[in-house]
Symmetry: C2
């Protein structure tokens, strides 16, 4: 379901936090918003498949979007879980004609869809917007390289510990967090099978990590740092 | 060792093939070249470490450069092997102050080093160069996502088979190639330990892949496609 870009206050604030909006003045941001429509997704809706002709790049306003690739024999690999304020597929503005991954909504999701041909025309008039998009692409490249390095270097418990340590709220030696999404999305984000995530949490239990649904308690953050 | 940008014909041709030079007119290309100096590296020279303050982005003119990250306990993960015409660290033009990986020469290498502060000033005058750099960043992002997907989805023999299939010269059902670099660089490129690469080649031997030094012969390309 598609509607023109009328955002509620929360959605507008989420969009304003996107990396490709950073540093733009009022007119530039307005020009970019004028290239967008809003898309409402149901859980498991596929936005596009790898190889589809590219028409839009996207910013998540609420919900979660999974980017994935598939190989010949029907298996898929998750590449990125996009959260609110994350954008994806801007790499198609100047580099490609077709989407290089598939994209699927993981729950009810709201997206701002930026029409690539319109954004290209806008960039010719307002090159400073190009700088903001270049910054967004650069941050994606850096975080994808980090993800690759962590896959190549960290065990499953280390990947989970790293996620917990970078997302928790400390309270003295202890810390806690509430996962913003179900555990199966955490597994996909970390490149783990669901069973591998469960085994990692079992290992971490011996290091003082307690999991109750999405609520996670860490009894001693320094112990976790030594995984 | 550093010299100003006087390139021989071969080096100039390699630089002209870089993604960030694509589509530039004579004056734009000249403006960009004026931001560069040439660096000659000995094998194992470290260009920069992760976290160093960023001053340059680079284009490989000859040789190979390894990009890597390290974790707390001294281990390293290879992220990318840059070949001639490949550029790296352009993501620092608009996104960061410090290098997000380390970089090391793997043999005698010649690099064009683009002074980031000069390139930033040039981009303000000539926004079309920004488009070319955005394209280069986009291609890096797409290839890094492909690498992540292949790590998450393919076994070691599948990764090697995929490399062979995308780099070989076909001759009927048979095919052959000569690795442009030593096998230890292929292992790093594919995210494999050297022993894992050896085991993968042993597996592929049963599928008609013969390795003699850097020369690789494939007896039946269709058999290899089914790995």
């Amino acid at each position: 379901m598609n509607r023109t870009l009328t955002l509620n206050g929360h959605e507008a604030a989420v969009l304003a936090k996107a990396a490709f909006m950073a540093g733009l003045d009022h007119d530039e941001a307005e020009g970019l918003r004028a290239c967008a429509t809003v898309l409402l997704c149901d859980p498991h809706d596929v936005l596009f498949e790898e190889g589809d002709k590219a028409a839009y790049f996207y910013c998540v306003l609420s919900g979660y979007i999974r980017l994935y690739r598939h190989n010949g024999d029907g298996r898929q690999a998750d590449i990125r879980i996009c959260e609110p304020s994350d954008s994806f597929a801007e790499c198609l503005i100047h580099a490609d004609e077709t989407y290089s991954t598939g994209a699927q909504a993981m729950d009810h999701a709201v997206l701002a869809c930026f029409h690539i041909a319109k954004v290209r025309r806008l960039l010719d008039e307002r090159p400073r917007i190009g700088k903001a998009i270049m910054r967004s692409l650069s941050l994606h490249l850096i975080s994808t390289m980090e993800c690759l390095a962590s896959d190549r270097m960290q065990t499953a418990p280390q990947r989970v510990a790293n996620y917990l340590l970078t997302h928790c709220v400390e309270d003295g030696a202890a810390a806690s967090l509430r996962l913003p999404f179900p555990k199966n999305l955490l597994a996909r984000k970390l490149g783990l099978a669901p069973e591998a995530l469960s085994r990692a949490f079992s290992t971490l239990k011996t290091r003082g990590v307690t999991v109750r649904g999405r609520a996670i308690a860490i009894s001693d953050i320094n112990v976790l740092r030594q995984i």
